[in-house]
Each structure stands twice: as structure tokens, then as C-alpha cells.
């Protein structure tokens, strides 16, 4: 099993969720995060004081999937979240050793 972590622009969340539903991935956990990358923050001025806004609001999705879904999931996210503009975000994949559904105690593939 794999865990896919996608950091995307917040307003793309709905579209990504729909793209994932379309390929039958319907579980995920979402966090509001601040991103720092090539997309540079802007400077805001409040009454003569300048503030550098380094971090930009992003949304992080964590999606546990079975191994064979990896490519289609990456593809779906990538397509839905892409705007061709800097700051679109990144996807990270790592290996999951175990997954467990709390309600039933199921583990492994059924639990995903």
C-alpha cells in the first residue's frame, strides 16, 4: 500500500476530489498548510510597515491507496490540480506498511 501526499492550491481541492472519486478513490484526509517554494510570497504593506509574506496557503491531501492505483492517482491529481503556473504544488509517495480501519479492525488492503 502507498500513501500519496499532494500539496495543491486550495481552490483546486474540489476538482481534485472529484477527479479522485472518478477513479474510485474516495478516502482522504485534508489539512490546511502553508507552502514555501519557488512561488515567492508577496509583500504586504500595512500603514507604512512592510511585511514579507513567505508562506502561501496550500492544502495537503493524504490518500492511502493500494499499490496498483498509484499511477492513476498521480495522474488524476496532476491533471486536476495543474494550472501551469508556479506554485501548483507537489506530490509525494511513500510506502505504507500497514493500514487499519478502526471501526472494524480490518487491516491491509481491505482497510484502504
Amino acid at each position: 500500500m502507498k500513501m500519496v501526499i499532494a500539496v495543491i492550491k486550495p481552490y483546486k481541492l474540489d476538482k481534485v476530489r472529484e477527479a479522485l472519486s472518478a477513479i474510485n478513490v474516495s478516502g482522504m484526509t485534508v489539512t490546511e498548510v502553508q507552502g514555501f517554494g519557488r512561488q515567492k510570497g508577496h509583500t504586504q504593506t500595512y500603514r507604512g510597515s512592510e511585511y514579507v509574506v513567505d508562506f502561501l496557503p496550500k492544502v495537503k491531501l493524504e490518500i492511502a491507496i493500494n499499490d496498483e492505483q498509484t499511477d492513476s492517482v498521480l495522474h488524476a491529481i496532476c491533471e486536476a490540480a495543474n494550472t501551469n503556473q508556479i506554485g501548483d504544488g507537489k506530490i509525494f509517495v511513500y510506502d505504507l506498511e500497514q493500514v487499519m480501519r478502526i471501526r472494524t479492525g480490518e487491516t491491509g488492503h481491505e482497510a484502504v
Binding site: Q44, T45, Y46, R47, G48, S49, Y51
Partner: protein, 441 residues
């Protein structure tokens, strides 16, 4: 003493003014001397008092609180609240007496102690057409707001016990005397300074004290280039709106009557606020390419401040012009202080209240001219009046700067004034009060 007292703020101002104009007290002014309670005037002054308190609590506190970081937000609210309580008690103990009772030989400088513990302020005592109890409370709200204004200069870094000391000593050394000079029959009132509602007494004192204490305490950690943005501008906008509404009590209430003067004070206040806010908005737009929320509300406050000393003397067009001048001048000085002098007068108390108060006091000497719709200065008495106004500004600035320095230095003898880096970093909410503003979940 009643006779004397009656002629106080701003009736004194008007009277002094009449002397200038007509070489003597006009009948109309004297007619008031019968001292009969007028329920309409009383009604308005009861309400004006509530409005000024409202303008401070929650208005000013919120205006400031929104501009701090979320880890200091309670400390700002706490400071406003505690100052309100402490100033009320001091006013009751001796403040009113020092400001408004007869000072005997020292009358030019300070009042006496005849009214300490509000002795003599009985149910029947009148000031002009209203109960003295109302006048006491109305003036009390002015003594409350001045030190709360100063808080904006040293947010995030003054320790709470020091703040209490500061409040008490500053009221004693700065506010009560200056209030006496201008409205209590002291030397400035004898000179005939025009000061309707607190441009000198409240705003210039607070602005100057803010500047001085910002310098003495030093900047916030992170100033000027690693500061955090205001944490909640919504709160600041709410505060600014409350300031605006409450200021009607401040200015129109200073007529101490539900009269044509009060009405005109309200009208010019509204107009000056609007033009100042728009002026600042345009400055932002020109300078930064965008009209800013924080800009327009700050401009509104600048307008409110600047019209304050003038509100009883100028007409609608005078108000409009004073507003525009204030919006631009305070915008410029804000940038000077922050960007050129690199002083961390954190919430621009000097640039808005000091400059606004001084500007309004001086311009009042011009726009009070009858030809400009004002209450009636003759064109040829303008230079003289301008001199008096400027003298008032300089004297109040100088005294406040010196006395505030003394106050802070003296407190430093027994209390730590500035929060430690650790306390600042934890946030004053936690380090001073062991509380958090927000607690989600």
C-alpha cells in the same frame, strides 16, 4: 466656585472666544448662569458619556487588538480595561479635583483638592444646565481614553504591573495638569486657546507620550523587517466603526448641551471623518496601487482626531478641509516615523493622535473664521489666535514629553517596564495573564 466651574470646558473656550471677539462676556453666555437643570441637555450628556466610554471600551481596544499578533491580543484588551478601571478610581479620588477645582495660588497650573473623593458632588449640584455628577462622569471618560490611546505605542512589550504604574503616574503628571490648563481655568484657558473637545488635552498628550515611550522602551522584537502581520483586521474595523460612532459623544458632547453647537459639532465631525478617510485611501492608492482597509479606517481616525479641537468652532466646509489635511498629514508622518526614523511607535499613536491633534488645534485658529463658515473669528484676529494655538501645541508637547520620560524612568527604579524577550515571544497573553485569546476545538 460654582460660578467659576460653570464656565468650564468648552463654555470657557467659547467665553474666552467671546472676549476675543466682543471684548467681553456676551449676554447669552451669562444667561446660562442661572444654573437650572435642563432635562434635554442632561439627557444628551448622559448619552454622550456612554458614547465616549463605548468609544474606548470596546472601540479603541478592539481597534488596537486586531492589529497585534494573536498571542498578544488579550494583553491589549486587558490594558484598556484595567486602565479604564484605574483611571475611574483616580478620577474619583482626586483627579476631578485636580483638573477642575480651584487651585488657589496654583490655579494656573493645577486645581486643588476641594473635590477630592468627589466631595461636593451632590445630587443637586449643577454645572451649567446639567448635574455635576454627569459632568464628572463625562470628563472621567476623557481621562480614561487618553492613557488607553498610549497603549498602541508599546503593544507587545510593556509588562502589566509597569503599565498600571505608568497609568497612575502619567495621569497625575500629565493629564490632570494639562486638562486643568486648558479646561480647568489654567493658563492656557486664560490665554484663550481654542480647544473644543480634546485635541490638546487628550490626543496631543497621548500621541506625544506614545512617541516618547516607544523610544524609551525600544522596538518590538523583529522590528522593522521580521514583524508579523495584524492578526485580525475584522476586529480593527469593528473598533474603528465604534470609535466613529462614539466620537459623536466626544465632540458633540463637549458642547455640554443639546444645542446648535452640539449639532454642528456632530455634523462637522462626520464630514471631517469622511474626507480624511477618503484622503488616506487615495494616498494608499497612489503610493501602493491599492486602497487599503487599514488605511481607510486609520484615515477616519485621523479625521476624528483633527476635527476634535475644532469641532465646536468650524462649519461644514472647514470640517471637510481639516479632514483632508489630516488624512494626508497623518499618512505622511506615519511613513516618516516608520520608514525614515525607524521608530517603533507600533500603532502610530503619535502620527495619528499627536499630529492629528496638533494639526486640528492649529487649523482651528484658521477655520473658525466667520468667512470660512466658522463660529466667528475676524480675519484680522486670525494671526493672533494662530499664535495662541501654536503656543498651546508646543507647551503641551514639551510638557508631555518631559513628564512622560520622567514617569518611565522613575517606574524603572522599582519595576521591570519592558517584557523580556522570552515573555514577548510567549506572548504577553500567556506571560502576563496565563490566558490565551483563541482556543479552537
Amino acid at each position: 466656585m460654582k460660578q467659576f466651574k460653570f464656565s468650564l470646558h468648552p463654555i470657557l473656550a467659547l467665553s474666552a472666544f467671546s472676549i476675543l471677539l466682543f471684548g467681553g462676556f456676551p449676554e447669552a453666555a451669562l444667561a446660562h448662569h442661572h444654573d437650572v437643570l435642563d432635562s434635554g441637555d442632561t439627557s444628551w450628556m448622559l448619552m454622550a458619556t456612554a458614547l465616549v466610554l463605548f468609544m474606548t471600551l470596546p472601540g479603541l481596544s478592539l481597534f488596537y487588538a486586531g492589529l497585534t499578533r494573536s498571542i498578544h491580543v488579550l494583553s491589549v484588551l486587558m490594558q484598556g480595561f484595567a486602565i479604564a478601571c484605574l483611571a475611574s478610581v483616580l478620577w474619583y479620588l482626586f483627579g476631578y479635583s485636580l483638573a477642575f477645582s480651584d487651585g488657589g495660588n496654583l490655579q494656573n497650573w493645577i486645581g486643588g483638592l476641594d473635590n477630592a473623593l468627589l466631595g461636593g458632588v451632590t445630587r443637586d449640584a449643577l454645572i451649567g444646565t446639567i448635574p455635576e455628577s454627569v459632568y464628572v462622569t463625562f470628563q472621567m471618560t476623557f481621562a480614561i481614553i487618553a492613557p488607553v490611546l498610549i497603549v498602541g505605542s508599546f503593544i507587545n512589550r510593556m509588562r502589566f504591573p509597569a503599565l498600571l504604574w505608568f497609568t497612575a503616574l502619567w495621569l497625575l503628571l500629565v493629564y490632570f495638569p494639562v486638562c486643568h490648563w486648558v479646561w480647568g481655568g489654567g493658563w492656557l484657558s486664560s490665554l484663550g486657546v481654542l480647544e473644543f473637545a480634546g485635541g490638546l488635552v487628550v490626543h496631543l498628550t497621548a500621541g506625544t507620550a506614545g512617541l516618547v515611550s516607544a523610544i524609551l522602551l525600544g522596538p518590538r522584537t523583529g522590528f522593522p523587517d521580521r514583524l508579523k502581520r495584524p492578526h485580525n483586521l475584522i476586529i480593527s474595523v469593528i473598533g474603528a466603526c465604534m470609535l466613529w460612532v462614539g466620537w459623536f459623544g466626544f465632540n458633540a458632547g463637549s458642547a455640554v448641551a443639546a444645542s446648535g453647537d452640539a449639532g454642528m459639532a456632530m455634523l462637522v465631525t462626520q464630514i471631517a471623518t469622511a474626507t480624511a478617510a477618503l484622503a488616506w485611501m487615495i494616498c494608499d492608492w497612489v503610493r501602493y496601487g491599492t486602497p487599503k482597509v487599514l488605511g481607510i479606517i486609520t484615515g477616519a481616525v485621523a479625521g476624528l482626531v483633527a476635527i476634535t479641537p475644532a469641532s465646536g468652532f468650524v462649519g461644514p466646509s472647514g470640517g471637510a478641509l481639516i479632514g483632508i489635511a489630516a488624512g494626508i498629514a497623518c499618512f505622511v508622518v506615519t511613513h516618516l516615523i516608520k520608514q525614515t526614523f525607524r521608530l517603533d511607535d507600533s500603532l502610530d499613536v503619535f502620527a495619528v493622535h499627536g499630529v492629528g491633534g496638533a494639526l486640528g488645534t492649529i487649523l482651528c485658529g484658521v477655520f473658525a473664521a466667520q468667512s470660512l463658515g466658522g463660529v466667528g473669528l475676524h480675519a484680522d484676529s486670525i494671526p493672533a489666535q494662530l499664535g495662541i494655538q501654536t503656543l498651546g501645541v508646543i507647551a503641551v508637547f514639551a510638557w508631555t514629553a518631559i513628564a512622560t520620560t520622567v514617569v518611565i524612568k522613575v517606574i524603572g527604579l522599582w519595576a521591570r517596564v519592558r517584557a523580556s524577550e522570552e515573555e514577548e515571544r510567549m506572548g504577553l497573553d500567556l506571560s502576563q495573564h496565563e490566558e490565551n485569546g483563541y482556543q479552537m476545538g
